[in-house]
Assembly symmetry: C2
Homo-oligomer: 319 residues x 2
């Protein structure tokens, strides 16, 4: 089902702005607190904390991030989950979100209701409040939801992408690839995992895998270094294998290039007790795989048999 | 000039994503700090403060908020100024913004450069850092910039829209109406004024006038009360008079209904020393008019000669 309707009576235009805004607050239910903490004043007010504030923004657009095959609830959940994954990658805790909608006057009120119910259910699950937003009319047939998520650090530190040194080890949670077969609407943001990892002194750097490992790894790799990965180590997902059966490409290609995995990629200090780290992980997260992918070397010391990431393009926008 | 080009070589698509993101950081210059405070990590990190955090979000869309007659720099400044006005209305100080762009692959790189130069100049003027964002491809001919602005309270309190009581007085800064003749790109967000007003104990409530006084006043009016305004008191702008000369409608109609004034509307406590308040205002802001519009009464005590706001519709979205 597309977000749109040809019957004006079923569209958001028929509802009109005041009734639409009231409906949005109703759909959001208890995830929409009273102003000034929530919707209804010039700004939303978030109480002060002693922690660092984290801010991230990612949208979903019809025709780009979802199509008519995706249920509206899954779209609403996804726009929040994309951003939750970014908070997870810094080891943070999500707090509050604002949502700016740009939509055609032909957007169906029933579709939008399910979008907000999906968003609210996901917000409730993760303790996020929807504290503000905006609704603006766009050309017919356009639907975009632009969410900005605020979180805070959970411990003394925020884990950034910087900091890998020669000899440091690379790990990834879960399995990779095949997101186009639906996983990218079903994924679970790794919030508990990110928080736990941020509390571990052996973690030097972290990020989430959103554009595919082959592309994203560049952001964790300091100048002068290169990741020495073993192709056999990459945790290829079952759906990546199914994609490979259809595409005729090797499963590894899907695992490295598909994107939208939303797993965590982490750098563990060279001198860390990796056995203890792996043991502690298994005790805390017995059901989620953690895989050692390889380690960082100086660029001129890359082994000849290291995985050539450049052969596996990640997702590139604006192509 | 529209944001778009028919020559692919001049478009953002020809630039490609990595070069476009590098260009955006170059255009933003010193308003784009190094990560993790700025662009380049999973989230932007804002240092902790003891004050309340303020969050607001407003977009600009081509065809809705601007057209081909508006210079790109003015569009870039406006998306920030709309949000600055919301921070001003709470008496806050702006800190950091994230910008999510949705644009057609046919967007001209030269237009986008000027958009970002305008945004950066405005950010510099107001001490705002651009700390994050996202660029997503939209259908050809679409351009939308979705900005979320973070600020903080400057004193012990945040001035909300709630709190007016019977007998309290209504004031407005500046003059109203005629924004369609260009003012809505040239306005100056009332940040210094908002901060000063938030520090004054006689201010009970405040908001900015964005959809027109006739519509916005409802948000300041508690249930059971009504604003008793005198038509002659409304500060009609010179451009509202020029609009009236063209439209054939009374100038007051433009002053109350045009919207996009971005002036501050404030509620002053009934028992306040209003002469001292006006004197202190003139000393602090000698060049900006502050006008007494009237006062709040119980709904059943509205004088027969009070201005009938319902006759002057403010701007309504999704019509």
């Amino acid at each position: 089902m597309t977000p749109f309707t040809r019957q004006r009576v079923r569209s958001v235009a028929a509802l009109g702005e005041p009734r639409l805004l009231a409906a949005i607050r109703r759909w959001l239910g208890n995830t929409s607190p009273a102003s000034p903490f929530g919707i209804g004043d010039d700004c939303a007010v978030i109480p002060p904390t002693k922690n660092h504030q984290l801010v991230t923004t990612d949208p979903v657009l019809y025709g780009r991030h979802f199509d008519a095959t995706v249920p509206a609830r899954a779209v609403g959940a996804k726009v929040l989950k994309r951003n939750l994954s970014d908070i997870a990658a810094m080891g943070g805790r999500p707090v509050a979100a604002v949502v700016s909608l740009a939509l055609g006057a032909d957007t169906a009120a029933a579709w939008l209701r399910k979008f907000y119910l999906g968003l609210a259910a996901c917000a409730r699950r993760h303790g996020v409040k929807i504290v503000g937003g905006d609704v603006t009319q766009a050309p017919a047939g356009f639907f975009g939801a632009f969410l900005t998520l605020h979180g805070e650090s959970t411990g003394r530190r925020v884990v950034t992408r910087g900091g890998a040194r020669p000899g440091d080890h690379l790990y990834v949670t879960g399995t990779l690839g095949g997101s186009r077969l639906g996983h990218h609407f079903q994924f679970i943001p790794r919030l508990a995992e990110g928080r736990w990892l941020a509390s571990r002194p052996e973690i030097r750097a972290m990020m989430d895998v959103s554009d595919g490992l082959a592309k994203d790894l560049g952001a964790l790799t300091p100048p002068g270094l290169a990741p020495a990965l073993c192709a056999g180590a990459v945790p290829v997902s079952a759906t990546a294998r199914r994609c490979a059966a259809r595409s005729g490409k090797p499963p590894l290609h899907h695992a490295l290039g598909d994107g939208e995995d939303y797993e965590l990629l982490l750098v563990v200090a060279r001198r860390a007790d990796r056995e203890k780290f792996a043991r502690d992980w298994r005790r805390r997260f017995p059901r989620l795989r953690l895989t050692h992918l390889g380690h960082f070397v100086r660029r001129d010391q890359l082994p000849a048999d290291a995985l050539r990431l450049a052969d596996h393009h990640g997702f590139e926008h604006l192509r």
